[in-house]
C-alpha cells in the first residue's frame, strides 16, 4: 500500500531528525564549550531571530540562490540538449572538458570587477558553478537518448523542434532534475562564500556577523536556517520531479 509506505517514511524522517538533535545535545553537553551551544539554546536564538530580521535575510539568500540556479538552468539546458547532435557536440564537448575541471569559484574577483559587489555578481557566481554541473549531466543524458526514438518520431513527420519537445527533453529530464538536486548543495556552499563579505544581507552575512560578535547561538540559528533553505529547495525539486517525470515512478 503506497499510502502507508509514505506514512512510514515520514515517521522515519521524524525519528532520525530527533536522533540527530539528541546527538547534537549530548555532544554539546560533553564538549561544554561556548562554541557549541545546545539545540535548545539555538532554538531560542532562532525564535528571537525570527522576531528580528532572520526571515528577511533568509528571503534575500533564497532569491540569490534561486536566481542563480534558474539562470544556470536556462543556459545549460539548451546547450546540453543540442549536444545530442554530433555536430553541436563537437563544439560543446571541448568547452566542457576544458572548462569544467577549472575551479570556477576563483572567478570571484573577475565577476566582482565586471558586475560590482551587488546581488548580481553573487547570482552570477552561483550560476557559473551550477551551470557546469547541469550542463555536463544534460549533455550526457541527451547523448544517451537512443537514435531509434528519434527515427520513430521523424517517421511520424516531426520537425527539429518536435525532437526536443517530444524526445530529448522528456528523456533527459529525470537526470537533469537529479543534477539540480545535487547542485543545490553546491549552490548553497557558494552562497555562503559570496555572502561572507561585502554585504550586510543574507544568511552568510548573519553567520559571519554572529561569529565576529561571538554570539554563538545566533551563529547556529543562521546555520540551521541555511540548512533549512537547502532542505526546502531539495524537497521542492523532488516534488517537481514526481510531477513532471511521473512515468519513472509508475
Amino acid at each position: 500500500m503506497p499510502g502507508s509506505e509514505e506514512e512510514h517514511r515520514g515517521w522515519s524522517y521524524l525519528i532520525i531528525g530527533f536522533l540527530i538533535l539528541v546527538m547534537w545535545h549530548l555532544f554539546a553537553v560533553l564538549l561544554n564549550s561556548i562554541a557549541l551551544p545546545t539545540p535548545v539554546a539555538v532554538f531560542y536564538a532562532f525564535i528571537s531571530g525570527i522576531k528580528d530580521d532572520l526571515l528577511a535575510h533568509l528571503l534575500i539568500s533564497a532569491i540569490r540562490v534561486g536566481c542563480g540556479i534558474l539562470f544556470a538552468l536556462a543556459l545549460a539546458l539548451p546547450l546540453g540538449m543540442v549536444s545530442y547532435k554530433n555536430r553541436a557536440d563537437k563544439i560543446v564537448a571541448p568547452f566542457i572538458y576544458l572548462l569544467y575541471p577549472f575551479p570556477h569559484i576563483v572567478l570571484l574577483p573577475l565577476v566582482i570587477l565586471l558586475f560590482g559587489i551587488g546581488d548580481l555578481s553573487k547570482i552570477i557566481l552561483i550560476a557559473i558553478i551550477v551551470f557546469f554541473q547541469i550542463l555536463v549531466t544534460t549533455r550526457d543524458a541527451a547523448r544517451n537518448v537512443s537514435m531509434n526514438y528519434i527515427y520513430s518520431l521523424l517517421s511520424l513527420g516531426a520537425s527539429e523542434k518536435d525532437i526536443y519537445k517530444h524526445v530529448i527533453l522528456p528523456a533527459s529530464l529525470p537526470k537533469i532534475l537529479t543534477a539540480m538536486r545535487i547542485s543545490i548543495g553546491t549552490a548553497i556552499a557558494v552562497l555562503f562564500f559570496v555572502e561572507s563579505f561585502a554585504t550586510t544581507k543574507g544568511l552568510g552575512y548573519l553567520i559571519m556577523d554572529a561569529w565576529s560578535r561571538m554570539a554563538y547561538p545566533d551563529l547556529y540559528a543562521a546555520i540551521v536556517t541555511m540548512a533549512l533553505l537547502g532542505f526546502c529547495l531539495y524537497v521542492m525539486l523532488e516534488e517537481v520531479e514526481h510531477k513532471v517525470c511521473a512515468w519513472v515512478y509508475v
Binding site: S152, S155, L156, A158, H166, P170, A171
Partner: protein, 249 residues
C-alpha cells in the same frame, strides 16, 4: 496491379564506410504484403529507414507510387522493434502523437484515438504508461499509433521480436487481420522464418552484409490464420531457410 513500393537498385554506404546495402531491387504491388528476411546486420533496417524518408540511399531510388521518397510521408507508417513507444508518454499521448505532429485538432485527435483504442481492445488504458502494460499490449499500442494517421503503407522492423512465442502468434494473427481489413501495403522486416512466411505474400531474402537480394520467393497462400498449420507452410519455410543459407555461404 499498381506498384506501390519499389526499390530500384538501392545501395547505401554510411559515412563511416560501412556498406549496408548493395543494388537492392524489388517491388510490392498495392495492397500486397512483403517480408524481408536475412541474417542480422544485412541492412534490413536501413532499407526501411530509406523508405520512410529518414535516410537517403547512396545510389538508386526508393519509389512510392512511382514518386521518389524524400521526406517522411503521412501515407507511410513505421513501426520499430523496441523503441516505438515513448515511455514518457501515456498510451493516449503515444497513439495521438502522429496526429499531433501533423497538426490535427484536439477534437479530431480524441475521436480517432478513442475509436482506435476501442478497436484494438485497449480502451480504459489511456492514462497508463507503456511500462505498466505487457509486451503484447505495448506492441498493439505501437500498431495503434501507426494506424492513427490511416497510412496506406505499413513498414515494420521486427515488430514482434521481443515477445514470447504465444503472444507473438496472437499478434501475427492480429497483424494479418489488420492488413486484410485495411487494404494496406505491408513491408515487414524480420529474422524469423515462420513470421516471414506467415505474413509475406512475397519474401525477399537478403544476403549478409552488404545486403543484396539473394532470392525473391512468391508465397501466395498468405491470408488465412490456418495457413500456419499446413504442409505447404512448412515446405515454404524450408525453401526460405535453404535460400538464406545459400546467401550466407
Amino acid at each position: 496491379m499498381r506498384i506501390m513500393i519499389e526499390s530500384k537498385g538501392i545501395s547505401k554506404v554510411y559515412p563511416d564506410g560501412t556498406e549496408a546495402l548493395r543494388e537492392v531491387s524489388f517491388d510490392v504491388s498495392e495492397g500486397k504484403s512483403c517480408s524481408i528476411i536475412g541474417p542480422s546486420g544485412c541492412g534490413k533496417t536501413t532499407l526501411l529507414f530509406i523508405f520512410s524518408g529518414i535516410l537517403k540511399p547512396t545510389s538508386g531510388k526508393a519509389l512510392i507510387e512511382g514518386k521518389e521518397v524524400v521526406s517522411p510521408s503521412k501515407e507511410v507508417a513505421l513501426i520499430l522493434q523496441d523503441y516505438g513507444l515513448f515511455p514518457w508518454k501515456t498510451v493516449y499521448e503515444n497513439v495521438s502523437l502522429g496526429l499531433e505532429l501533423r497538426r490535427y485538432s484536439k477534437k479530431e485527435r480524441k475521436r480517432t484515438v478513442s475509436s482506435l483504442l476501442e478497436d484494438l481492445g485497449l480502451k480504459g488504458f489511456e492514462n497508463h504508461y507503456p511500462k505498466q502494460l505487457s509486451g503484447g499490449m505495448q506492441q498493439r499500442i505501437g500498431f495503434a499509433r501507426a494506424m492513427a494517421l490511416n497510412p496506406r503503407i505499413l513498414l515494420m522492423d521486427e515488430p514482434l521480436s521481443s515477445l514470447d512465442a504465444l503472444t507473438r502468434e496472437t499478434l501475427q494473427n492480429f497483424l494479418l487481420s489488420l492488413w486484410k481489413n485495411n487494404g494496406m501495403t505491408m513491408l515487414l522486416v524480420t529474422h524469423n522464418i515462420e513470421e516471414a512466411v506467415f505474413l509475406g505474400e512475397k519474401i525477399v531474402v537478403l544476403s549478409s552484409r552488404p545486403g543484396s537480394v539473394a532470392e525473391i520467393i512468391e508465397n501466395h497462400k498468405v491470408g488465412d490464420v490456418n495457413y500456419r498449420n499446413t504442409e505447404g507452410f512448412l515446405e515454404k519455410c524450408r525453401e526460405v531457410r535453404r535460400s538464406i543459407e545459400d546467401g550466407v555461404t
